[in-house]
Symmetry: C2
Subunit: 597 residues, 2 copies
């Protein structure tokens, strides 16, 4: 077994932090999806991913998907695994029953998403993108588009892609040049080049539904002139059967540092007369729709960070239990013992574990907010939940993926020299993880979102309301007399105060000094992510202390307490330095003359 899904930790988060019970009680559509269903789903999902998907991970690194004559052939085993994935109904987990989905809350779905990504980041990207396409069509597609495409996407016959990037348009989508010419029959001809298209071509499904950003001839410059089109690989006949091959072709795939089994395609649209596309929603509102897709995908990529961190942790812990080197410094063994006995190895593994569990807890709470925002009957709860979710998305994406770099680095480090040898497998996680801080918006793009839309726009009000929630948890910690609770409270308070200082700094400077504000954007994101993850672990500690006192699952609860305390003392303790750098060091970021670089 190369991967064992952390089902217990996931269920703990859903039940104790995310309020799954309340969701089932307050939202009729979720009435059947309580903790027992969650457990059954997670166990089934764990089995599939542990047995079928995880063993293909290293295979995909050794023998990546490859391109030949316009076609892409995925790693041996992927096609069969995707068939099983589709047949198991996993693509439809969170999607509406009307279109063949299972309508589960995201609170459960996110945990399943973590599992498939732990098992195999490269494989999981195909469903991740398809999920995004489904969400975009659900929101902005016509009934005909929904009925034509969504059931096929959900049953795994077809898959979806997102086509944003062009050579000159990366983070800056205003530069999109792909052209759409109306044909007068309701269709458009699409011409242009898209790059970095994940699973833009492959052999696992009958058809590929490309969602493409393009500019209708005569549209305004910039992001206000971008429209969204469905451009399927094969045109779809009125009866739903496949028609002609569309003029959308994969001309090459990239040679990447990681996620090698996931084909990253250059797609040429319209080189042979024009690719046929249909408009989604209204003209010039494409970016708005794409953001729906992108927000789903951003959350998903954050979960990828947690997923690869978990896998790296499991691998390193397993190695540390078995590798014998040197006698422990405390003399607790008579001679050389497993390296798990060495304090620095413990420090590395605890760091990996604490970061992973902290981000998992944060993502679980974010998923529950999404569920409430989308399904709760009370409009005020919807609004508050939506604001909370939107604040958390850049943290889940930015912080969880940045932390995955630290975790996968430590994962290699625990292995010593063996970690650098590819066959060991630890290096693959290190290489794979590095894309996560880049795609679906780099960490800087997430941070811009956090600073601009989520913090400065309301003068920091919502951010301060999060600080108030953290403070409430501190108050609960203060009622405890355990050393762990005291230690966590101390660090949580310090981190929260640091966060508030930064929020105030941003609110004060956003207009008057944008350079200073954005100089601290990524550090602010890291501080906010650190705080929210640490806060969730502090909440976990409160629950775990109660359950431990009640004699419930002592090993698990003790571990939760130890991990929460470690997080507070070793990760939350970074917050003060981050605050100082942002608030007192803003000017030095842009002090060096441009021509001195």
């Amino acid at each position: 077994m190369t991967y064992r899904a952390p089902v217990k930790d996931m269920l703990f988060n859903m039940q104790e932090l995310a309020g799954l019970q309340a969701l089932t009680e307050q939202i009729p559509a979720f009435a059947d999806f309580g903790i027992d269903t969650a457990q059954a789903v997670l166990e089934e999902c764990a089995k599939f991913n542990e047995d079928v998907v995880a063993p293909l991970n290293w295979e995909g690194d050794k023998a990546p998907s490859y391109w030949k004559d316009g076609e892409v052939f995925t790693t041996t085993g992927f096609k069969q695994a995707f068939k099983q994935f589709a047949e198991g109904g996993w693509q439809g987990l969170q999607h509406p029953a009307d279109f063949g989905g299972q309508g589960l809350p995201k609170t459960i779905g996110a945990a399943c998403g973590e599992m498939i990504n732990s098992a195999n980041l490269s494989f999981a990207l195909c469903p991740l993108l398809t999920d995004g396409a489904i969400e975009a069509l659900l929101t902005a597609g016509s009934d005909a588009q929904k009925n034509t495409f969504i059931p096929k996407l959900i049953d795994g016959s077809w898959t979806g892609t997102m086509n944003l990037t062009e050579p000159q348009a990366g983070s800056d989508l205003a530069q999109v040049r792909t052209r759409a010419e109306p044909q007068g029959d309701g269709t458009y001809k699409i011409f242009g080049t898209k790059i970095f298209i994940t699973y833009g071509e492959h052999d696992m499904a009958e058809n590929i539904v490309h969602l493409v950003l393009a500019r209708v001839v005569g549209a305004p410059e910039g992001v206000k002139g971008i429209s969204l089109f469905i451009v399927p690989k094969f045109l779809v006949n009125a009866d739903g059967s496949l028609g002609a091959r569309n003029d959308a072709h994969c001309v090459s795939i990239e040679h990447k540092m990681g996620i090698k089994a996931s084909p990253t395609c250059v797609l040429q649209f319209g080189d042979h007369g024009g690719a046929i596309g249909t408009l989604v929603g209204e003209e010039n509102r494409g970016l708005e729709y794409m953001f729906i897709m992108m927000n789903a995908a951003r959350f998903g990529v954050g979960v990828q960070g947690i997923a690869v961190a978990e896998r790296a942790y499991q691998k390193a812990a397993s190695f540390a239990r078995e590798r014998i080197q040197s006698r422990p410094v405390d003399g607790s063994l008579p001679s050389a013992g497993p390296i798990l006995h060495h304090p620095d190895v413990r420090r590395m593994l605890m760091t990996m574990r604490a970061l992973t569990e902290g981000c998992r807890a944060m993502s679980s709470v974010a998923a529950a907010a999404y569920d409430a925002a989308h399904h709760h009957a009370d409009a005020e709860i919807c609004k508050q939940s939506q604001a909370f979710y939107e604040f958390l998305v850049p943290l889940v994406k930015g912080y969880s993926t940045e932390m995955s770099l630290e975790v996968t680095d430590l994962g290699v480090q625990v292995h010593g020299g063996m970690g650098f040898i590819e066959e060991t497998g630890a290096a693959q996680h290190y290489r794979d993880a590095k894309i996560l801080t880049i795609y679906e918006g780099t960490t800087a793009i997430q941070a811009n979102d956090l600073v601009g839309r989520k913090t400065a726009r309301d003068g920091g009000a919502f951010a301060r309301s999060i600080a108030a929630m953290v403070e409430a948890t501190e108050a609960q910690l203060l009622t405890r007399d355990s050393a762990a609770a005291r230690a966590v409270q101390k660090r949580l308070t310090a981190a929260r105060l640091a966060f508030v200082d930064v929020v105030n700094f941003i609110a004060a400077n956003a207009r008057s000094n944008p350079n200073a504000t954005y100089a601290g954007s990524v550090p602010y994101l890291m501080l906010a992510g650190n705080l929210v993850a640490g806060w969730q672990l502090a909440r976990s500690l409160l629950v775990a202390e109660d359950k431990l006192a009640a004699g419930e699952d002592a090993a698990f609860m003790s571990a939760k307490i130890a991990t929460a305390r470690f997080y507070a003392e070793h990760i939350l303790s970074r917050a003060g330095g981050t605050r100082d750098a942002i608030v007192e060091g803003a000017d030095s970021v842009t002090a060096l003359a441009l021509d001195a670089f």
Copy 2:
């Protein structure tokens, strides 16, 4: 040009921080090696590495050295480049003129070492290991051994290797099992397997001089029973000509994440009757001699960290100057401009630059201490310099290599999606750098050395003497009225106080609570490295302010001031959190039950 050596910064460090002038005045052997010589050597070295070695870096990644039938064929171009390297006299730079070297101070040699490593880490490893072999033989070899081997190593006819690791003996050399049987004629037969042997086999030299740790039959258990042997690939006749092929064979090379052009060999000694070796020095003192080699190599690996960081910085800065995306947030350009205008890109580049310059300054000062320790006529200065150098070696090795992971990560990040594409080249630095925190002693091994031998052994006295030197620099900063000096002084003082707290913690706990002490060992190393690098940049700022006031090289001096201030505000500011984690968080490192991992 893919790499331009930072000659000016190196010369600044030598002259203004490391005291090259004093070395030339006080040490007769260095009388000719003043700043003018340094400049001439560095410029020549820059030319060779920029023109000949650097272009082979990406080649080596694409077409790594490979093994066939016991032989290793290096990347096309390496053999010719090595010939030029040898003919240029670069291997002998720091070695005695008696054996054909040039006898330059390490203060100059270390800068040359950085250049070749920036140009090509994989290529540079062969000379790096040869340097170590030369140092070990100079210290412990017999006259006959010195005369036979050193001139050939210096002129590049032969190269050297270090054979420590065995499958069961990585960080724990007590487990070495390779066996040496005395033959009664002064030679020994060596039997065993060594792994991870860098350039253990290759085609760039006529002979390879393996220095091998082995256990003489009947020797004590553990590290006190290990001896050091010379086991050449080809035996050497009395006249110095090559004799029979020795029974030391490369049976495979590793498939690694990075430094792919550097062959990492599994060597079998004695599978066909026994490899012939001769003892270096006395029996059972092998580890002591190997430490000479290892200390040289550790310093050298630290310089590798600086080198790869510099290369990654140059690549990222170049990309940031050219890549056009989005309008700057301060509206300083009318439309989309180079990403160098974005504050977060500036933050990333400044972080890369500050870490690199800080570690370079630290290594330059360490190199000068080595020179004084080995050559000064005053015994007290030798002793103090040696203690200072020995304190700095784990920082140069540990901190510079850990920082190189951060820098190469940022290097990829600045490139966005392009960074993940191998052809861009940023990813290679990220992959290459990861070995640096592992080989020649992992960061944890460096930290053990720092905590045990360098700090706890004298109750923290020497560490406190470093703090006192830092305090003297703070006092100088306090005499300045510039905002930069004030900002740097504030952070330097805080970091120095944090460092002293940790030193006191270690001194108090080393015996009574080894787990708590070693739980903080790597964070202590990071804090100490951070402080010493930041201190050197603070000293740089003092010099640069004076020179700027004198109207000397305003662009360079202004950049030095800006970089020093950035380092203080953004990197030194991490020190408080690190201190808290070590001093207040020690117990949580080892609180989780072993069976909970």
